[in-house]
């Protein structure tokens, strides 16, 4: 027979246990709050105000009308004007800007002659979502900007749009390098934190500590196998990306290797740090989840980074996954070399230094 008092007893017990495990309880409250804030405020599937550079070959009133219109539009965020084609190229390659507008020399003259001069929009289409809206809105924006100057004249300019790095606008190209970051974050941090916590949970840590084994011997010995696992994951993903989805690898293998090695180290040390805090494998897993979620949402993996509000971008900058994904996309899709991704490499190095130091400080040499 069903007994209400037994059911109530079990419910009561369950609540007590839930409240005793503060980390789990924190997760239960924290995850929905975090999701709500991130999805509600930070994530923007229709990104606006994307960083744009204008190469001014001409400085006439028509050119200025266009830049002004871009500035007032919510699609573009003009971060600068330049006359150097080299500068625009590197800005696009490093991912500093998503769009480059090129106004050709003699634009004003040709326009007034009715020669229908070309105006060029280079869009970084490696993320088709981010590039899509701006590129779609650009021709109309130019027409409307020039209309007051030219009256009823039929299309006075030709807008040419170059979807760079991913002309077909295939999302796979953008997703696959991002997956590298997400999968490494997930497995490396989680595997190491769980493997290390397991020793404490099962009591085998005491056996280890009772032998003359040194702490760094434990650390190196436990972590190295996961470096192999990580390398195999990278190899599988790269091969799959090439064979199944035709994702190119255009950039420097050396830069890639540097980024991947550093990123694996970051995540391993993160896992190590978690293991010094977590008291059980369950807690270790929860902590990885807490870093994993923002790593998916704020790193530019799922949603365009440039479309997020400033505070979310700042938060994202603190995540190693953000820098890694950014660097790998530049290397694989845009043919970037080491120098182009250095601004992503050094933050990774800094994050690694911070996490590794914290982990070493927290590591217990005794059972105290």
């Amino acid at each position: 027979m069903t007994s209400l008092s037994r059911i109530l007893a079990i419910m009561g017990k369950e609540f007590i246990q839930m409240l005793r495990d503060r980390l789990t309880f924190g997760m239960m409250v924290g995850i929905p709050v975090m999701q709500l804030l991130l999805f509600g405020y930070a994530i923007n599937t229709d990104p606006r105000n994307l960083p744009t550079l204008v190469e001014m070959g001409d400085n006439g009133p028509a050119s200025r009308a266009i830049t002004q219109a871009m500035e007032t539009s919510e699609y573009f965020d003009l971060i600068g004007l330049t006359t150097s084609a080299e500068e625009t190229e590197s800005a696009l390659q490093s991912g500093d800007v998503l769009f480059v507008v090129t106004i050709p020399p003699n634009f004003e003259r040709d326009l007034l002659r009715g020669d229908r001069p070309q105006i060029l929009l280079d869009a970084d289409a490696s993320d088709p979502v981010a590039a899509g809206t701006g590129a779609g809105a650009f021709p109309t924006l130019v027409q409307e900007a020039l209309a007051p100057l030219l009256g009823e004249m039929s299309p006075p300019v030709q807008t040419v749009i170059h979807r760079r790095y991913n002309p077909a606008g295939r999302t796979a190209l953008n997703i696959v390098p991002g997956l590298l970051g997400v999968i490494l974050t997930m497995t490396m941090a989680m595997m190491t934190s769980m493997a290390l916590t397991r020793e404490a949970e099962r009591g085998t840590l005491e056996t280890l500590l009772a032998t003359p084994t040194r702490p760094h011997e434990v650390m190196i010995g436990k972590i190295t196998p996961y470096v192999f696992v990580g390398s195999i994951q990278v190899a599988i993903l790269l091969a799959g990306a090439r064979l199944l989805f035709g994702v190119p690898f255009l950039g420097s293998p050396f830069a890639f290797l540097a980024a991947v090695s550093l990123f694996i180290l970051v995540n391993l040390s993160l896992g190590f740090l978690f293991s010094t805090v977590a008291r059980s494998q369950m807690q270790a897993m929860q902590m990885t989840f807490f870093i994993f979620l923002p790593s998916i949402l704020l790193s530019g993996f799922m949603f365009p980074f440039a479309g997020m509000p400033a505070w979310a971008q700042t938060l994202g900058q603190a995540l190693p996954t953000t820098h890694f994904i950014h660097a790998v996309r530049s290397i694989m899709l845009k043919g970037a070399g080491f120098r182009d991704v250095i601004h992503d490499i050094w933050p990774l190095a800094v994050i690694f230094a911070v996490i590794a130091t914290l982990a070493m400080l927290r590591y217990r040499r005794t059972l105290d």
Binding site: R202, G203, T207, L209, T211, P212, T366, L367, D368
Partner: protein, 308 residues
């Protein structure tokens, strides 16, 4: 001077938060002895053992194990001491042989294979060498743990309740092993709750609430405690038990099979308490030797009064 002593610690104190788990603990264990370490659960035995082998840092006090400083030379101690944890703490998902090989390699032993094979033979683990440690019964797990803790020929073995929850036959086998090691000159400090094990120790230290209450050759302990015990045997003991329990002069009363053991410190007052039962029909009242168990229960009762 410490060369003659396997363990020589003074004033060991350990606090967790504001709870003092071990308080001013001193102990000298001569080499080659089997030293029993007794005390109620939570009395600080495990903490003391962990401090002796460098797993915990004492908040105060110090000393040596095998002549090495327990604070500064914990690495030397770890390579010369064998420590068996209370809870089985080898790898359940490794086989018996893999566990032993792993431990041998952590101790950086030369010719690992032959050391491991020798240990497998010596501890009769060879038939189970390829079995996962998790699938061993409790007794065999303990045997494996002892093999793992003694493979590097330690001069001192610290065994923390090695036979808890193990069946009597396996316990006896385990103690045979301990005596074999002791004959080879290994000093053994073993904590236990079993009286039949305690009597096999050369010396016994009794600890309660973090303080050492007695430290003496096991044969001397009942006398040291100073209890006089009378044995009342017969039928219908329950009313007598009820009457004597807490009576003046009776410090402790316990049932032993079909008899009562009535103990007290003051011979005259104890005599007055049991006098009514002398000469009763079907009751035998005779002087008995105070046993180890009674002595320890008495010590525990006394320490509760002092510390709670």
């Amino acid at each position: 001077m410490s060369e003659a002593l396997a363990i020589d610690v003074q004033g060991l104190t350990k606090r967790f938060g504001d709870k003092t788990v071990v308080d001013d603990f001193s102990m000298q264990v001569p080499r080659g002895k089997i030293y029993g370490f007794l005390g109620p659960n939570g009395s600080g035995k495990t903490t003391t053992i962990r401090m002796m082998c460098g797993l915990l840092k004492p908040d105060a006090g110090g000393g040596t194990a095998l002549g090495h400083d327990i604070i500064r030379e914990s690495r030397e101690i770890k390579s010369r001491v064998g420590y068996m944890t209370q809870k089985f703490s080898l790898y359940g998902d490794l086989t018996v042989r893999e566990n032993l090989t792993f431990m041998a390699r952590l101790h950086a032993l030369k010719n690992t294979t032959s050391v491991v094979e020798a240990a497998l033979e010596e501890y009769a683990l060879a038939p189970r060498a390829n079995q996962l440690a998790d699938t061993l019964s409790g007794g065999w797990k303990q045997r494996l743990a002892l093999a793992a803790a003694s493979m590097h020929d330690p001069g001192l073995l610290l065994l923390d309740e090695p036979t808890a929850g193990v069946d009597p036959k396996a316990r006896r086998d385990f103690w045979d092993r301990i005596r074999v090691l002791a004959r080879k000159g290994v000093t053994v400090l073993v904590s236990t709750h079993y009286m039949d094990e305690a009597v096999q120790c050369d010396n016994i230290a009794f600890i309660a609430y973090g303080r050492k209450l007695i430290d003496a050759p096991s044969a001397d302990i009942p006398e040291r405690v100073g209890l006089i015990t009378w044995r009342i045997e017969g039928k219908g003991l329950q009313p007598i038990y009820d009457a004597l329990h807490g009576a003046d002069g009776v410090d402790q009363i316990a049932r032993f099979g079909s008899a009562l053991h009535v103990s007290g410190r003051d011979a005259e007052r104890l005599e007055r308490a049991i006098a009514p039962y002398r000469g009763q029909d079907g009751l035998i009242v005779e002087k008995a030797k105070t046993g180890l168990e009674e002595a320890f229960i008495w010590l525990m009762t006394g320490s509760e009064d002092n510390f709670q």
